[in-house]
Symmetry: C2
Subunit: 259 residues, 2 copies
Amino acid sequence: MRPAASEARRPIRAGSYRGQTGTLARGFVQANIVILPERHAADFLAFCQRNPKPCPLLAMGRPGDPSLPMLGNDIDMRTDVPAYRIVEHGRETAIVHDITSHWRDDLVSFALGCSFSFEEAIEEAGLGIRHNELGLVNPMYTTNIATTPAGPFKGPVVVTMRPFTPAGAIRAIQITSRFPQVHGAPIHFGDPAAIGIADLAKPEYGGDAVPIHAGEVPVFWACGVTSQQAVEQAALPFCITHKPASMLITDRRNAELSV
Amino acid sequence: MRPAASEARRPIRAGSYRGQTGTLARGFVQANIVILPERHAADFLAFCQRNPKPCPLLAMGRPGDPSLPMLGNDIDMRTDVPAYRIVEHGRETAIVHDITSHWRDDLVSFALGCSFSFEEAIEEAGLGIRHNELGLVNPMYTTNIATTPAGPFKGPVVVTMRPFTPAGAIRAIQITSRFPQVHGAPIHFGDPAAIGIADLAKPEYGGDAVPIHAGEVPVFWACGVTSQQAVEQAALPFCITHKPASMLITDRRNAELSV
């Protein structure tokens, strides 16, 4: 028996677990979180709709309502993420583990798909995910590919990178194509400069560089950090995101997302 | 209205069309043909089963029966291929356009999927197929990848190559993955030497070299010529194949093959 996602959320909700979620509740969907005032919600929804590969929307809450019943019966967005970033005028002003005191009647929650879901499917197919094998954080990079703007939200697509042999890359493309709600197929492979990445050895956003072996090619998937970048450059007076890698654990199973 | 496949077969059957079939009966499945004595049929069937990417079996006839009802109500394997190769002891001894005089009570027909089907799907997605754009024959190459043998049948996998940008290659992988009966997804992309191809400028089996533009990568699919190579090196006293690019036109539609 896999531990239920709600069991994994319990210590997070209690404030006793404040770390990364990648190894928790295997098999269950984890989500990127953006919480912002209702007056920006329609624009952000449009931004997700126009940029489905980096920003695949899993669920959207009602204004002032901290539940997300599409993703779990008892989810409380005020307490169920291990670490939140408070972002004011585009700058992170605090990392907190409970946003009950920050909650407002006009806040709308968005949950976006995360690559943990497709990484599980790749690993179950017998392919290794280099950063997981090495216990590292997924390398992330800003590209020169622009998102399609909506209202104040715009900016470059951020990608993650995983090295594979060509045959492994073909298999990974097949597998991730079945998961459009968690970034889907890669958007590029091979030459990093072709998408504006100058140096794979210098990942951004807290990711780690990973080795690429002889005969392997780097494969690039759109990343949910794109949404955080778009929100931050919009410089809204107030919004909340999750701390990267500390995700919302939902009750939906990764296998449910497969098309 | 597309011309029916049976209409396209009529001049072939009458002997008045003896050329390539790539531009005929668009939308209908075309097939590679191998015809051999019953005593080798079980081994050849096993060879196809063990090597489904280069040798995807669409239909197998009954001994001595020149019909293939799975692929068309009126198909006659003795007359419906524009050009046949008579192969004796592993050597081509004649090119003929009707095998009625060669037919025997012990001959079994095999029809294998052909890349024309997936090329149509790629083109309908808006991607160009370089050799089609240039009016050339698909470049083909012998690889260092071995087939899984069965009885006397063995040998290297032969591949076709089409250049794409990485984004185009990802889309082509998605599209061809839906067509496992016509070679399915590619088996390699990028460095030709990794699969034993020394020089892309020197294709084999009558294929033409095609230019690869800056920013493109060569993408390699398993090719039905693999089956002809396996049959020829087996050096059976007698067998018949089609002349490459002069295929059997069937009544099945390419879209039927999509999974």
